[in-house]
Amino acid sequence: MRTVATLLRKELLVELRSLQSVPGMSLFAISTFVVFHFALNRNTVEGDLAAGILWVTLLFAAILGVNRLFVADAEEGGLEGFLLAPVDRSAMLLAKALALLVYLIVLELVAVPAFALLLDPSFTRSLASLVGVIALGDVGVAVIGTLVAALAVRTRARDLLGPLLALPLLVPVVIGAARASAPLLTVGSSSGPSARWLLTLGLYDLLFGLISYALFDFLLED
């Protein structure tokens, strides 16, 4: 656990000093909302459309972060250094996933208000449910993103392979998250996110958490 904390601290420190992921992701999300405004020719969105725009934007912004997650370590010898240390290798997975989760939370602190401001979706119910759905979606994106980033980082075409691998794997997350948030963005809707979507998201997070945990060691062998 202390290893995870140390690694996470290092990740966040590096990000804080270099600012290479989170500002780019946030700016990308805001630009994407602007693009959606013009592409759809709408000033306001609601329901399915709003949920879809929100999740597509968050997903693509997240992939920017995923693509950069291991690059510094792979290029500057951080992975070799980590492998020399007598610690559990899964610590790296957990630390990277937590770091990505923090990036996503910061991204959403910028992107969701920007979404509200630019496209005026109708937040009908309490924001708490939306935060819950976003949190569940984030865990899935963080877990799968970390696994995919580790798979892609030492390939020749990593900038291409990262998104190509991540998007199909994240389709169930998008289905669950978008369907769960749609009623929260619908005018006059009285229902909350349906339990089956939250359950799907939770199960998916859990399953891929276990798979990543089982497989991650194999990616760090050399």
């Binding site: 075409a157 199909p168 794997l169 169930p172 289905i175 199960l203």
Partner: protein, 279 residues
């Protein structure tokens, strides 16, 4: 190192050539027979569907292809687990071949499914059909297997990363089907999804078709594995020949060195003198 890797390969080839070829031949003939039987049943035995008529016959091709492709994907995950546990290259080769042939079957599934959708629903693509949509997503994921694999140069790491991908994707298959099934609105009743509600002759035809397609899958996998193995042996032989030619060159005079551009010859002709030189 080169010697130790190529000697067993050569004796393998001598030992396994006959039986392996016979097995491949038997498998091919069985496949051809079962496929022919399946087609005969499809066209002459199975009754015409009351609603869809002749068009429904594509069901006997499309559904077995889809089932076999998906089983191949999941089977590849099991083979990849074996590779990660044992670290033997042959498991990785099997997983690779399983995914490769499944991808080909996947393309065929999507095309036949599209034709069927156009015929029965009037559209080339139907988002309401969860099986079709799930299959597309799975297919898109597996389509990245080869780009991922061949973007890694080190063979050992290539095999390891490919196996990690295969296991992840194999676990993704059922999960994705559940998620997409939940998301669809059940517009179309799933009449043709399983054999349980098919009338007898149709069910029999379907099962024979399924067996035929499954055999076809196994045959194609066997052929590809055989080719891969032969290519590996050929490469090992060629490397051995080059190494020995190089050794001969190094000890020979400068005049001889100019006269022996060995590596361009087919492996067989080079291997014979090389092995004599080694003995």
């Amino acid at each position: 190192m080169i010697n130790s890797s190529s000697r067993p390969a050569r004796s393998d080839a001598r030992r396994g050539g006959g039986p392996a070829r016979d097995r491949l031949l038997a498998l091919s003939l069985t496949t051809a027979a079962v496929m022919a039987l399946a087609l005969a049943l499809v066209f002459f035995y199975a009754p015409l569907d009351a609603e869809q008529g002749f068009l429904q016959k594509i069901f006997y091709v499309h559904v077995p292809l889809a089932i076999v492709a998906l089983c191949g994907f999941v089977g590849a995950a099991l083979l990849a687990v074996m590779h990660l546990r044992t670290r033997e290259a042959r498991w990785d080769a099997r997983a690779y071949v399983a995914i490769h042939v499944s991808l080909i079957f996947g393309v065929a599934t999507l095309i036949t499914g599209s034709i069927w959708a156009k015929g029965s629903w009037g559209h080339w693509w139907v988002w309401d059909e969860p099986t079709l949509v799930s299959f597309l997503i799975v297919f898109l994921l597996y389509a990245t297997y080869q780009p991922l694999r061949f973007a890694i140069e080190d063979p050992e790491r290539q095999a390891r990363y490919a196996s990690v991908f295969a296991v992840t994707a194999g676990a993704f298959v059922p999960m994705n089907f559940i998620a997409v099934r939940l998301a669809s609105s059940f517009v179309h009743p799933r009449v043709l999804g399983s054999t349980s509600n098919l009338p007898g002759p149709m069910a029999l035809t379907f099962l024979v078709s399924l067996a035929g397609v499954a055999l076809l899958y196994l045959t194609l996998c066997s052929y590809e594995l055989t080719i891969k193995r032969a290519r590996g042996q050929l490469r090992a032989l060629r490397r051995l020949a080059e190494a020995q030619a190089g050794a001969v060159e190094a000890s020979a005079s400068g005049v001889r060195r100019e006269r022996s551009p060995a590596p361009v010859h087919p492996a067989g002709t080079v291997a014979a003198p090389a092995s004599r030189g080694g003995a």
